[in-house]
Amino acid sequence: MTIFTLDEVEKIFTNGEIEENILKGISLSLKEGEITALVGTSGSGKSTLLTIAAGLQPASNGEVLFDGNNLTTMSAEQVRKIRAKEFGFVFQFAHLVPFLTVEEQLMLMLEVSGSTLSKKEQKNEVDQILDVIGMKHRKNAYPSSLSGGEKQRVAVARAIIHKPKVLFADEPTASLDSKRSKDMMELIRDLTKKMNITTLMVTHDEEMLSYVDRILQMSDGLVLESQ
């Protein structure tokens, strides 16, 4: 079942007099529960496409449809609510909040997503997910005392603790070594499959492609289905 659709999405950046057409009419659909990888050379517009899909910046033309909603025509506040409740984000760097403990990062995300659980139930959720990512013993640690791999695992936990429908990941393994990258991909795959989360992931690491269901190749502002 299709949960997410881009229809003829264009993005034009104007740098002074020069107009650059970065996305030239991209259409694609994501199927519920599938992991889709977006590959392509650096500067081909992958991040731009991902952020438009995630409602982080507007498209110049075309439509972004999620679960029956048209993100293109919604108000900024409506899009924010969808981002908070239905989307999860992992970026190249963990970008954790430096003054919150691991547990607090996740509690904050539950709160922002408008969770109706009681404080106690929320803490249980946090404990459970920390167990899954093997970070329960670091629950009261601040990000500055975590390793790169640990931070990224917490970032993944933060992206999915509120059970979003879609996970957006922009080169989530780029800051990790090869062994940790594979662990990270396994973690993302396990969690999204278990929770039936649809994933759109940018990567340029060939090795990671074995963990995904579908690969889209970006080039020259257009998307091609590969394999």
Partner: protein, 344 residues
Amino acid sequence: MNIGWKEIKKNKSRFLILGSIVFLVSLLTMIISGLANGLSQDNAALIKDLPDGHFYMSEDAEETYNLSRIDTDVQNEIMNKHPDAVALSIQMGFLNDQDDKQQSVAFVTSTNSDLFEQVNKGEVIVDRSLKEKGIKTGDRLTNNQLRDELVIKGFVDQKKFSHAPVAYINMEDYKKMYNVEQMQIVFIPGEDSSESFTGLQSYSNKDFLSTIPSYNAEQMSLTMIVSFLIVISGMLFAIFFYMMNIQKIGLYGILKAIGIKTSRLFKMIWTQMFFITIIALTLSISLSHLFNLIAPKGMPFHLTIETTTQLSIIFLVVGFIGATLSGLQIRKIEPLRAIQQGED
């Protein structure tokens, strides 16, 4: 979750520095306000303690009470019309105590009124500050313009004029000393609007105060310093939060990306600003009032709860504006900036 508070807890030293600066600036502001107030009391308590009303001096005196002469007929006309009106005169002068030491005083005499001490001929009532100079009730003082001695009848609290203790004397003695028949000033208490009398110019209490030499100059410079300090404290908040916000642009972007409202980020800054300011103000209020109690007797320092409350409210408002201005840049941060930025 109160993220503003969590940040303070994690970055104590950073906020401690801002807090200390706010504390020092607000303490300085309060001390200087106390000084301004003290000086103004020292300069003009005699006038400041009067109820609201209107002062009249002769037009040709050109705002100098010393040169003013109220025509006796006009004075009588006013006194008939306003039974509570009072005619008075003030002259700077000296009293010699029993050891022949000269004490500079402001001689004050007036027609019958509750607003000014009434003394009999040959008697004088002086400000309590002279007691510390060794003058006692019953002492006989002399003045080089008066043949008879003046006997100290008693003391009054906080009656100063032009930084000198007030000495209330009888009108007859006054007329003899200064060889004049007319009074300088007529004061009519009451909120009524000023009336016009032939040859007289009217002044509100405030206008009259500013005709006292040095009063305006003193108060203006001190008010200026106080306003500068308040503006500086506002800028401190703006600059401090601006610097912190610049460092946190990436973080704000991420928080916005995951769906935190901009208004919540503002609340975070406001919480921090109020927390720091309230602690700093509590400390500076306590210390400045402590100083009020222990300030050396000779130092004109007078700080009221009213003044500190007013200053505190101003500090909170100015801090709020400063923090909010610095926060305006947060509104402009695009959540996606964060994704394009490297590790914090």
